[in-house]
């Protein structure tokens, strides 16, 4: 077993909880955006001639 997949290097439940707490603190007040959400439509745009 290699070092990077050793259980010894995985976060413990307590560590994971601490990470979640820090992330919540850092992202507080920000809206989580789904990057796959379709952009609002803007129909107008230049026409490119491919002739």
């Amino acid at each position: 077993m290699t070092a990077w997949c050793s259980p010894a290097t995985a976060a413990t439940p307590a560590q994971r909880a601490a990470i979640v707490e820090v992330v919540d603190e850092l992202t507080g007040g920000y809206e989580v955006v789904n990057e796959m959400a379709v952009l609002s439509a803007d129909e107008d745009g230049p026409v490119e001639e491919l002739t």
Binding site: N34, E35, M36, A37, V38, L39, S40, A41, D42, E43, D44, G45, V47, E48, E49, L50, T51
Partner: protein
Amino acid sequence: MTRIAAVADIHVGADSVGRVAAGMRHLNERADLLLLGGDLTRCGEPIEAELVARELADAGVDIPIVAVLGNHDHHAGRTAEVVGILGDAGVVVLDGSATTVGVGGMTVGIAGTKGFGGGFAGANATAFGEPAMKAFVNETRREAAGLHDALVAVRPRADRVIALLHYAPVPETLRGERLEIYPFLGSHLLAEAIDTAGADVVVHGHAHNGSERGVTPGGIRVRNVPQPVIQRAYRIYDLGEPTVREAPVAATG
């Protein structure tokens, strides 16, 4: 003047109802043909395909619509149902196949396939080693061969030929994406197929953080049209006036 509208990666899901329709309300007045470059749905669920069909119907789109599927449309493993639903809505879905559309006084041929990854010359996967790697590369080869054959088949019947893909055939339209993920965004084998068979323009999607414009090594224009790239509901390209074809003159003498 023949205008084609093109967009990819609309990723329709339950929370995007109404957004696609809103952007395509006046499409009929602006274009003669709509191309959809894959990832029409978020996860390839039939209910999402129903939503795509409803969006197009709500927008009143009645110009021809030609599409290919993307990787997201494959995720649920229900592509047959997705294609059937889109077909019932009047969308021609290509998969290593071609169709022709009479628009603006000319016949436009569209050869399409999803495509696949593998990377680009000098930094590409090869069919060597593990069966999984061979399968990966062979999937791209199969897609490229299907596209090549579709282009060859449609070319004699069309004034202009468009190659429609989801994955990218050239690295130029990936500019803006992380270099490390290029092999998962496209393959040079697709460009080889296009350059060998011939086309007037290539339209693809998939590279949300990429660039719109590129060109194949053979000089064919490539346009990457995910909504995050084009920043509008669709892009319009003008294919110009129909070419006057002269009948071959019999040799005398």
